[in-house]
């Protein structure tokens, strides 16, 4: 090669990450080196990657073939707009998370910091390779390496049995999913059995084969993304992992599944069938609804966020399905709109969800407490984390002018402009689903208010919380990075749309740049101005002008006098912190309304209990309806087969004897 292409730079960055990990594992116990030097270096790597990807989005696709890998199938790598976009996501998010992790890392038992450093950076690098891979084998290797490294990160506190269980469940589901992906590649490789993506692109399979490939890929990537009913690992693994890792997994790793799904269904498969889209739509709807309902009733803050990730994945898949439908009905512009909304939401979710997870990390460090029922009033002790968390919360509940709203707005728009599909039912269905999306986002608002209000507001529910300390400097930098990201992404949607334009052109052959760009950076009008428009800048601007104005006016014409008094006790003399609404209490209406969703076991105290206890456990029904039965079936199978192994030598001899005779008869007859 004469000069280094962009793809080489991506490779160099990934290798840089790997080498950082190597250095770390070379000095496993050297705390200062790992936390103060290596992780920040990793963050720099993230920034570099983001810059490369930024240019890569607009560059033409580039290809490299490494002299590694399988005989006859060396590692093919390819950098196009799609992979660049997801690399951008990876780089930007990981930059914030790594710098946070540098501050977050503490001297403690569990995995040695050096080893953790290695695993973390292998995790990053493997995700980068997933985006780059251009043949089935390289993809699988990167994919499984990603799963493995994240598994070890999840189980870094492996002394606790439940964390081991979570890790086991996670790796198991990941592995099964990987099998699905492998099979899907196998189907797409077809009779030639050439596993390069190029060959798959050229290979025009017909009949039901594309559908089978699509369904297998959906299974595989759905398992990683946490689509119903394969979400089971997600709420277990996220709380188990250290917070930067949960941020990484929820913010970025889930998106690799989206990437893979996009790659398969738009790039590798040519003809999309409309009911694929409907399937995705319904799956996404179910997932989002399930996720948000369950996140509303959680009492563990990281579990709450994990379920909310499931919800967001559901929303993303909704957009995805819509894109498929439009694409299959040859409506490229609408497809571009829906796809833009989808990808935009991926980016936003990466930012606000990582932000929130990192905030829980700081809370965890300050209080050693994950249970919502034991937190509260942290705004006084840790203002930084609180206000940054507020940004994340507002974004997550899809409120203007933050980024969450922008993508959901686009999503709703793409739902609203559907009239005119050849499928009458779809025309009916889609607006109703739009209503459901509205319900989900409003519900997310409920959940987020619960999360924020109970963790940060009110009075401290425990004595120790009054000693809580705010996040350290490095942690603040990380949080700030992500928070500011949320705001900027919310304020300049057109910039993002321009970024997404090449991607949508690549996948669905159309883009929003022409229409959206025409109104200047401040006005977002994907179709046309009098049809729908939204300008977060004016929005925020007017609020920002208005508030001080009112403040000043009140001060100016009246007074700013203020007295501190005890809170009004409504005539109940002793008001303790325990009387505040607990997480269970806040979720109670939801438990009541959506009771069919849950599998709950509850104990009510009788009026005569000397020490009344109220117990209410809400569990995931899928575990009981789906997973345990499967386990039972396998168990039964083992029992049947184990019957062969009786321990009697005569019996064993009989086996070989019968085998011999039957084979002889077989050959003769």
């Amino acid at each position: 090669m004469s000069q280094l292409l962009l793809i080489d730079w991506v490779l160099i960055t990934a290798l840089g990450w790997l080498s950082i990990g190597m250095v770390g594992v070379a000095f496993p116990r050297n705390f200062i080196l790992n936390s103060r030097i290596l992780y920040p270096l990793g963050a720099v790597g993230g920034l570099v990657l983001a810059l490369i990807a930024l240019t890569g989005i607009f560059a033409s696709p580039q290809i490299r073939i490494l002299p590694l890998g399988m005989p006859g199938l060396p590692f093919h790598l390819r950098l196009d707009a799609l992979s660049s976009f997801f690399l951008l996501l990876l780089g930007t998010a990981s930059a914030g998370i790594s710098i946070y992790a540098a501050g977050y890392l503490r001297k403690g038992d569990g995995t040695a910091p050096g080893l953790q450093c290695l695993l973390y950076h292998v995790f990053l690098a493997s995700m980068a390779f997933v985006m780059l891979a251009d043949d089935g084998y390289a993809f699988m290797v990167a994919w499984e390496t990603m799963a493995l490294s994240s598994f070890f990160l999840v189980t870094s506190e492996h002394r606790h049995a439940e964390i081991r269980r979570a890790g086991y469940l996670y790796l198991l589901v990941a592995h099964v999913g990987a099998v699905g992906i492998l099979l899907s590649f196998g189907v797409m490789a077809g009779v030639e059995g050439d596993y390069t993506f190029d060959a798959m692109r050229d290979f025009s399979s017909h009949g039901f084969w594309p559908t089978i490939a699509f369904l297998l890929a959906l299974f595989g990537f759905g398992a990683k993304a946490g689509i119903l009913p394969l979400h089971i690992w997600l709420p277990e693994a996220h709380p188990a992992a250290p917070s930067p890792v949960s941020a990484m997994m929820s913010g970025v790793m889930l998106k690799t599944a989206i990437y893979g799904m996009l790659r398969v269904s738009f790039d590798l498969l040519h003809a999309q069938i409309w009911w694929w889209g409907v399937l995705l739509l319904l799956l996404g709807l179910a997932t989002a609804l399930f996720g948000v309902v369950f996140s509303a009733i959680q009492t563990d803050m990281k579990r709450l966020l994990a379920y909310s990730s499931i919800e967001n994945i559901g929303l993303i898949f909704l957009g995805f399905g819509l894109t498929l439908i439009f694409k299959s009905f040859m409506l490229p512009h609408l497809a571009a709109l829906a796809l833009t909304a989808t990808l935009y939401h991926c980016l936003n979710h990466a930012f606000f969800k990582s932000l929130l997870f990192l905030c829980t990390g700081s809370v965890l460090h300050a209080t050693r407490e994950r249970n919502l029922g034991k937190l509260g009033g942290l705004i006084h002790r840790m203002p930084w984390v609180t206000w940054l968390a507020l940004i994340g919360v507002l974004a997550a509940s899809g409120l203007p002018p933050l980024n969450g709203f922008a993508s959901e707005w686009l999503l709703l728009q793409s739902f609203l402009f559907t009239s005119g599909l050849p499928q009458g039912y779809l025309n009916m269905l889609l607006p109703v689903i739009a209503g459901a999306v509205a319900l989900i986002s409003a519900f997310a608002g409920f959940t987020m208010v619960k999360f924020f209000g109970i963790v940060f507001l009110g009075q401290p529910r425990e004595e120790k919380l009054t000693q809580a300390h705010d996040a350290g400097r490095l942690e603040r930098i990380g949080l700030l990075w992500l928070g500011v990201g949320c705001i900027l992404l919310g304020l300049f949607p057109n910039v993002v749309i321009v970024l997404l334009d090449p991607v949508t052109r690549l996948l669905v052959g159309s883009g929003l740049r022409g229409t959206a760009g025409s109104h200047g950076w401040w006005l977002l009008a994907p179709i046309s101005q009098d049809r729908a428009s939204y300008s977060p800048a004016i929005f925020l601007g007017s609020i920002v002008i208005f508030m001080p104005l009112v403040y000043w006016a009140v001060k100016r014409f009246y007074h700013g006098r203020l007295k501190r008094v005890p809170a009004w006790d409504c005539g109940f003399p002793l008001q303790t912190a325990r009387m505040q609404d607990t997480a269970e209490g806040f979720g109670q209406p939801i438990r009541r309304i959506f009771s069919p969703f849950f599998k709950r076991t509850r104990e009510h105290p009788s009026p005569f209990d000397s020490q009344p206890r109220y117990l209410s456990i809400v569990e995931d029904p899928f575990w009981y309806w789906l997973y345990l039965p499967i386990a039972k079936i396998v168990e039964r199978g083992t029992q049947l087969i184990a019957f062969l192994q009786q321990g009697r030598i005569a019996l064993y001899l009989l086996y070989s004897f019968i085998t011999l005779l039957s084979l002889l008869v077989l050959t003769r007859g």
Partner: protein, 317 residues
């Protein structure tokens, strides 16, 4: 943007700020009459607000900075909202800045802030109120959105101005969907504005309070702002309803004459609307909080029905 648009925008804003408390007073008056009580004066809200403004603000020891920011945020959100709603004219500067969806988002923003403020001090009743408010909110919000969807399907746009313009200046067509949407909207706006049958604005029995429970800790200027904001919200909703379902007299061109014209019409419409609302409130009884989901669920279903009706009967396909 031309000068008139700016003028119309400012005018709309000022009208909202002025008329909102009066509308509130008017509704209370009507209700009092119907209940054979001596009515409070029409400007009662003004009196309350100014009284509160003069008083000192009492702040609980535990109250945080968020608690103090919230009133301003809520007030400005709702003011902006009422500026976006086309009250007099459809030619506004802000109209491209925020369409129907953004308007709903704006209401939601205000709601989230007030709910957080309610939880901030950490009394039992504050968080109770916030919980109920959020519950009502997440059921009402999608219903409202669906209503907007129906209208925007009719007018092929989600920008309020376009919607209202199309609805106002269509040659007379009967939209059955709008009937459903209208009923749904009424229910939603009752719920959103803390009105009977969902909430009782005049109660102070803690266990039944929703809105009042959240603002229990507020006093002085903060409370004043919140009260004013509440009336603004009511005003915004009423104007929205009128603009969507009785869009008569809203001008497209923003010249003074037609603006004044439409101003007069608006006042008349508001008077009637307020009376109707008072009537509903008097005739119905407040329901238990867990009946609220059913109520709002009905509204949601009506909204869905409206959309389906539109797609079936009116989309022409």
């Amino acid at each position: 943007m031309n000068f008139y648009a700016l003028f119309a925008q400012l005018l709309a804003l000022v009208t909202a700020l002025i008329l909102a408390p009066i509308l509130n007073g008017w509704v209370n008056q009507c209700r009092a009459w119907m209940q054979n009580r001596t009515a409070p004066p029409l400007l009662q809200t003004y009196y309350t607000v100014s009284k509160l403004l003069h008083k000192d603000a009492l702040l609980a020891h535990n109250a945080s900075s968020l608690f103090r920011v919230a009133p301003y945020a809520i007030f400005s959100c709702l003011a902006l909202a009422s500026a976006i709603v086309p009250t007099l004219s459809t030619e506004l500067i802000f109209s491209p800045a925020a369409d129907a969806i953004a308007l709903v988002g704006l209401f939601a923003l205000a709601r989230v802030f007030i709910a957080l403020a309610g939880m901030d001090v950490g009394t039992a009743f504050g968080s109770l109120g916030s919980r109920r408010e959020m519950l009502i909110g997440f059921l009402a919000e999608p219903a409202l959105l669906l209503i907007f969807f129906t209208t925007s399907l009719i007018s092929q746009s989600t920008s309020l101005s376009t919607i209202v313009a199309t609805l106002a200046h269509r040659d007379f067509v009967i939209y059955p969907s709008l009937a459903f949407a209208g009923v749904a909207f009424t229910m939603v706006s009752l719920a959103e504005n803390a009105r009977i049958p969902i909430d009782n604005p005049t109660t102070h029995l803690e266990l039944t309070m929703v809105h009042e429970a959240m603002i229990l800790e507020y006093s002085g200027r903060h409370l004043a702002l919140i009260e004013w904001a509440a009336s603004l919200k009511l005003f915004a909703y009423s104007c929205l309803g009128l603009a969507l379902f009785f869009p008569v007299g809203i001008t497209e061109v923003a010249d003074p004459v037609s603006l004044a014209m439409s101003g007069v019409i608006l006042v008349m419409k508001l008077a009637i609307g307020g009376f109707m609302m008072a009537l509903i409130e008097t005739l119905s009884a407040k329901m238990r909080i867990f009946r609220a989901p059913e109520f709002l669920g009905t509204a949601f279903l009506l909204a869905v029905l409206a959309m389906l009706v539109h797609l079936l009967l009116e989309s022409g396909k």
